[in-house]
């Protein structure tokens, strides 16, 4: 009971070399930005704070609550970390939690760790903070409500990304894994939302200064745009893909991710052809959405980094 | 019951030194929320002295201790080993004042014992070879040699307390400040710790509620209440003053 693996940690072997490498690359880039932000804006007090907060998220994941029929829910913590610590510190803290879970407990693989950090750490923090940022100066009730939605969406975002990565690796059928992952995590996300809201409500009551004071480094308005874009992607992509998986399949094959069984798995630098004039209109939309999203997220992060430099 | 401080004349110092190790003059401090924690505190400590600091919770003992190496900064003069406590001297003063916090889990923040004992010397900028010598010496002093590679979370409370003392001994401090060293220890570990403190040839200021330890170990005792020093003198004499003990919530051992 002490340590229960969460269902979203991808073990090694489930992702292809290419997908693992791309996820690691994205993770490294985003973490590099987070680190440079940390070095610029954090004070020395933040180092022990982030360290203990990482242990806090880890320990908080052990507090379970019985849901029904012998199953129990527990926290993943991405949204809570984002709201309590701000986006950059939240990302670094979640990175540490996922890294230790993979390294020490084999909960999630090492090669797959890039994907795991991306899904449960970086994406979850970004979408949760983006949404929460919209109500930063609003009444507490509204903040709590949005925090709940943000927590639920952070779990759904992670689940969607996980499903897509396994499918892109050619190791699952999209029309099964997508509804399955999203269905399970819609429930898990509900638990996440309930605990996150209750925990925040408790902190609002006892130490409101920690949530409303300016001590932790907060993100700018760019987070709102990024958060809403990811939300939009989750909301649109999930039903679209479930309804017509062939389109997405087609895109993946063209993008070189998806090997259909016989192709040599060691070719991990395939032709990178994005089918903007692809066969079906749907594939075009989805390829566009996926690509634009990735590019926007990256551009935003890099843009912030460049702009902040004197 | 209102406590009257002025009625008790402060017993003169035992030694005639002028505070060659620690000299505090008219120190006042209030927390940002307005709570006044220190009122006109003056205190002298001489080389080799072992002094107990007693008083009820909230008397200002911990606040006073946090001033001794510049974690808090009130109004007044503090001199450590002849050096005025200011921003410039702070790094040297932090090396001279060895601060041992109450909860060893806060003090031992590194995964291994070696890393924790080496943390102080390392941040003082001491050379690598010298650091290893100091770590070994500090661990020997607290009778924990051979523990360098142990993991902090595997240690017992008594072991943690000893290692916590080693983490500051490795900085070769001129004065040790200990907050509640015997709290949370079982009788045997407590006895071992008292023997250790007795043996250590370092000037000490020890905050505690453990009056038996005060009687057995500290020739001099300072009583604080409501941010003031209300008595300072020979332990043997002050412990006989039942009115003083009563007024400040202290128990006779």
């Amino acid at each position: 009971m002490l340590y229960t693996p969460a269902p979203m940690h991808i073990p090694d072997g489930f992702l292809s070399m290419l997908v693992s490498a791309v996820c690691w690359a994205l993770t490294v880039i985003i973490l590099a930005v987070a680190l440079s932000q940390a070095n610029k804006t954090f004070n020395e007090r933040q180092i022990p704070l982030m360290g203990v907060m990482a242990a806090f998220i880890f320990a908080a994941q052990m507090i379970n609550f019985p849901v029904a029929g012998g199953t129990s829910g527990h926290l993943l913590g991405g949204a809570l970390a984002a709201i309590l610590l701000g986006p950059w510190a939240g990302m670094l803290v979640m990175m540490a939690v996922i890294a230790v879970q993979g390294l020490l407990f084999q909960d999630g693989g090492l090669l797959a760790m890039g994907a795991n950090i991306l899904n449960m750490g970086l994406l979850a923090v970004t979408v949760a903070y983006g949404l929460y940022r919209t109500v930063l100066n609003r009444p507490r009730g509204l903040k709590l409500a949005v925090a709940g939605i943000a927590a639920w969406l952070s779990v759904m975002t992670g689940a969607l990304a996980t499903a897509l990565q396994i499918w892109l690796s050619g190791n699952a059928k999209l029309e099964i894994i997508l509804p399955a992952m999203l269905g399970i995590h819609a429930l898990i996300g509900l638990g996440e939302a309930l605990i996150t809201v209750a925990a925040l409500a408790f902190i609002f009551k006892t130490r409101p200064d920690l949530l409303e004071g300016g001590e932790t480094v907060r993100g700018g308005r760019g987070w709102i745009v990024t958060g809403l874009l990811i939300t939009l992607a989750v909301v649109l992509l999930a039903p679209l893909a479930s309804a017509n998986p062939d389109g997405l399949e087609h895109v993946a094959i063209n993008m070189g991710f998806h090997t259909t069984g016989q192709a040599a798995p060691y070719e991990f630098l395939p032709d990178y052809t994005i089918p903007f004039l692809g066969a079906t209109p749907l594939s075009t939309i989805l390829a566009g959405a996926l690509g634009v999203l990735m590019v926007l997220a990256l551009a935003f992060l890099i843009g912030r980094l460049v702009l902040k430099k004197p | 019951m209102p406590i009257v401080h002025e009625t008790k004349p402060v017993i003169p110092l035992l030694t005639s030194c002028d505070g060659d190790v620690l000299h505090i003059e008219h120190l006042n401090f209030a927390y940002p929320d307005g709570h006044v924690a220190l009122r006109d505190v003056s205190l002298n400590l001489c080389a080799g002295e072992k002094v107990a600091l007693v008083g009820p919770n909230g008397a200002g003992k911990s606040t006073l201790m946090l001033h001794l190496n510049g974690i808090l900064n009130g109004n007044g003069n503090i001199t450590v080993g002849g050096l005025a406590s200011n921003k410039e001297n702070l790094p040297i003063i932090r090396a001279m004042v060895g601060m041992v916090f109450q909860n060893p889990d806060d003090q031992l923040f590194s995964p291994t014992v070696f890393e924790d004992v080496a943390f102080g010397p390392l941040h003082m900028g001491i050379a690598e070879a010298e650091i290893k010598v100091r770590v070994t010496a500090a661990l020997t002093q607290v009778r924990m040699s051979g523990y360098a590679e142990r993991l902090s979370h595997h240690l017992s409370m008594g072991e943690k307390k000893r290692i916590a003392i080693a983490t500051v001994l490795s900085m070769n401090p001129q004065i040790l400040i200990l907050d509640e060293p015997s709290a949370g220890l079982d009788p045997r570990a407590r006895r071992g710790l008292i023997n250790l403190l007795d043996e250590l040839p370092v000037t000490m200021l020890v905050s505690t509620h453990d009056m038996t330890m005060v009687r057995d170990l500290f020739p001099r005792m300072v009583v604080m209440d409501e941010g003031r020093i209300v008595a300072d003198g020979l332990t043997a004499r002050l412990l006989k003053d039942e009115a003083l003990l009563e007024a400040h919530g202290l128990e006779k051992p």
């Binding site: 073990p11 072997g13 489930f14 020395e44 007090r45 180092i47 022990p48 704070l49 360290g51 203990v52 907060m53 990482a54 242990a55 880890f58 320990a59 052990m62 609550f65 019985p66 029904a68 829910g73 670094l92 990175m95 540490a96 390294l103 020490l104 693989g109 699952a172 999209l174 099964i176 894994i177 605990i195 996150t196 809201v197 209750a198 925990a199 408790f202 902190i203 130490r207 920690l210 259909t260 069984g261 798995p265 060691y266 | 946090l66 190496n69 932090r94 090396a95 004042v97 806060d106 923040f109 995964p111 291994t112 890393e115 080496a118 943390f119 390392l122 941040h123 595997h154 983490t167 500051v168």
Partner: protein
């Protein structure tokens, strides 16, 4: 009590225990990459990979079956791979319909599923071997030598240290909750789902506040010992002759596995 729950290190003095930790990390990752790169149905290569693990486990003094016994952690995720059975084109073996979705079990699909499971199972054993023969603090230092930024390494080191302290606090809280969760005979206990979630949330909030205050005290303890914002560490690392030998042998073995896997 944590000794068995959180510590995956098994003390020993074998060659594997004494190898350079950064090298062990690199070799473990290389082993996992080797597994992932093996083609589907490379049974001989999968088998030899497992033999490597068994032999290492034995050499480390853990007993031959140690990693295999502990490798079940990856199993819950198997469900996600089961759909591979239907997703790889090949000769149809069986047909089903779930609603409107046709599910065709193919021979290539079955091979893919079995291969994924084997890759996951072998990889997780490699990782288990790594943490069983390397103390976690040494692993943290290894990350530093592998050029992981210092801030990340420091956060991980703090996480590891306070994992034990905070999970102890959680256990005490859970016990206190249990001690007060009584139920009358025949009555359902625990209140509504919302109420239970609220109690859990309060515990999380409480834990946060305690952790936050603790980080303040730790910061003071660091300041008192000369911390000025830069974390310094002292952990020299030298590759010895046996480390180079081991690295060469591992590289040769993994290359051979890839060749065998493609024959």
């Amino acid at each position: 009590m944590h000794d068995n729950v959180f510590d995956r290190y098994r003390p020993g003095d074998s060659i594997l225990h004494r190898l350079d930790p950064p090298l062990k990390v690199v070799v473990t990752v290389a082993f996992i990459i080797s597994n992932v790169l093996l083609p589907d149905a490379a049974w001989l290569a999968f088998g030899l990979s497992w033999l490597l693990i068994l032999a290492s486990s034995q050499m480390a003094g853990l007993g031959i079956g140690y990693t295999t016994r502990r490798s079940v952690v990856a199993l819950p995720f198997a469900l996600a791979a089961i759909t591979a059975i239907f997703s790889v084109p090949g000769n149809a073996l069986a047909d089903w319909h779930i609603g409107a979705t046709p599910l065709t079990v193919t021979d290539a699909g079955l091979l893919r599923f079995a291969s994924i499971m084997l890759r996951a199972w072998l990889s997780v054993q490699g990782a288990i071997l790594l943490v069983a023969t390397t103390r976690f603090p040494d692993l943290i230092h290894a990350l530093e030598h592998l050029r992981l930024p210092k801030l990340l390494v420091t956060i991980i080191a703090f996480l590891y240290r306070y994992l034990f302290v905070l999970t102890d606090e959680v256990l005490r809280m859970l016990r206190a909750r249990m001690a007060r969760s009584a139920a009358m005979p025949g009555q359902q206990s625990g209140g509504s789902l919302l109420w239970r979630a609220k109690v859990t949330g309060n515990m999380v909030g409480q834990l946060f506040l305690r952790s936050y205050e603790r980080s303040d005290r730790i910061y003071n303890a660091m300041l008192a010992r000369g911390y000025t914002g830069q974390i310094r560490t002292l952990n020299p690392h030298v590759m010895k002759g046996r480390d180079w030998l081991f690295a060469t042998l591992a590289a040769a073995a993994f290359t051979l596995l890839q060749i065998i896997g493609r024959m």
